[in-house]
Symmetry: C2
Subunit: 278 residues, 2 copies
């Protein structure tokens, strides 16, 4: 057993999605597209004596992240998980999924579980879906780049493609929005808009069409918050394109969209790689 291992998992902003429930959480998930970010989550796993309980510490505070607990239980690992996040939780950056996947990767190494990448992604994705905290972040974060999720679920069943591009990403977060609340409501309208957006991006897999499809989706799915709607309008007025991070009270733009509109955004770029051990 190693003393510890650390994994980095990129953040992920979903631009649009449709939901695909299934009794088996490794088959459930979402179709859609998004951008992975150079900002993300660093997860360090250290073994704890088996008679004690696992603990998760986020930026110094002990917290409970349900998918992380599930991942550790699945791997039969008792551990101290230290999470260092460059992104806020609950604001549409896939932090819970990233933490689950980072825990799986690092624990696999520390506890010598001998699982493959796909197996670790499947465990993390299933844990995230079961907790209701996300539907597609984990598989996107395992992939990196600008992933298009053509078919839902874990790697055994899903199908991914990507937009072959890199971009500067700007974002401003206005606070939390509860993913479970939205996902447990009626998602028919949302999923119809998401399917429409996906066919646009499949037809023309460029960043421009991704932003266009995302903006249309945010409006049609009825998810826009007041803050985000105002910021999108401001960016449009300044000649750029912005949309809403699904699901968070967060606006994002590619290039200099938000700066040009007078905002003071956080800035990073798309992450060319998926989740990785340090």
């Amino acid at each position: 057993m190693r003393e510890e291992a650390t994994a980095f998992v990129p953040g992920h902003i979903t631009g649009f999605f449709s939901t695909h429930p299934d009794e088996d959480p490794t088959k459930a998930g979402s179709r859609g597209a998004g951008v992975t970010l150079t900002r993300g989550v660093e997860v360090t796993v250290e073994p704890e004596p088996t008679e004690s309980a696992s603990t998760v510490v986020l930026d110094g505070d002990e917290i409970e992240i349900e998918p992380v607990t599930t991942v550790l239980e699945t791997l039969e690992a008792t551990a101290r998980v230290e999470v260092d996040s460059e992104l806020p939780l609950g604001a549409g950056f896939g932090v819970s999924g990233a933490t689950a996947l980072g825990t799986a990767l690092a624990a696999n190494r520390v506890f010598d579980c001998k699982l493959s990448s796909n197996e670790l992604v499947t465990i993390s994705h299933g844990a995230e879906v079961r907790a209701g905290t996300g539907l597609g972040d984990v598989v996107a974060q395992a992939h990196g780049g600008v992933p298009i999720r053509l078919e839902p679920g874990s790697p055994q069943v899903n199908e991914l493609d990507a937009i072959p591009a890199r971009a500067r990403v700007e974002y401003v977060s206005f606070g939390e929005l509860s993913t479970p609340d939205v996902l447990s409501g009626d998602t028919d309208e949302l999923s119809a808009a998401g399917t429409e957006a996906l066919s646009r991006v499949v037809e023309e897999p460029t960043l421009l069409s991704f932003m266009y499809a995302s903006r249309l989706f945010a409006r049609e799915a009825g998810l826009l918050t007041e803050d985000v709607a105002r910021a999108i309008g401001d960016v449009t007025d300044a000649g750029g394109q912005a949309s809403m991070a699904m699901l968070g009270n967060t606006v994002f733009a590619l290039g200099t969209g938000l700066s040009d509109a007078g905002y003071d955004p956080d800035v990073c770029t798309t992450h060319p790689a998926g989740a990785m051990l340090r």
Copy 2:
């Protein structure tokens, strides 16, 4: 149309493989496993007037790389392709596949072809298979890390997994070995050994089992050159594990295997990301 675009594609050392012919080159390919490398190929594509012919320049010299010509023809692009390779051609590093894939990524951007990542990988993989210069490098190089190729062919039909690990990679190249010559001969014995090696790595997806399976494959497939066989023996005597880069007169080891055995190897690490635009 842009003035130019540059893509980086990691090198790829195949440890073992089995061949899977198909009339459709996008469905043909190989199963197997390997390591992608931080050393690779940088490809810059610049448009040329359509009435002239495309040219490929490798480290300053104009050359012909058949898969690159095929990729440009498929994209209906007339271009000057400048290839800057940190790895030798024909020595088992997948340089021809990397050049084809880098050309596809960069040309897609320069000529605004609006193709997806999978489409670009499919075109490059098909071009490489048709030329007989490789069977699995392109899909591995698009993936990054330590890919396991469970099912052959391009992304529409193949299935990939990976060993979730990073490693220092050492190698010594003793010269060229012709991939088309080996692949056009009788590959039954080779493929049987490759299938056996793959089932070992699927059962235990670790770097140790990958090296073990690769070494056994190299011996059983009857491909070992004298130089490589001697180097593998020297590394084993020094307590390490080395194997042969398929297909090249090249020996590789993880960690410090070759240094420990008194060689003066080139050193890099596994590349966490797949091919990417600069």
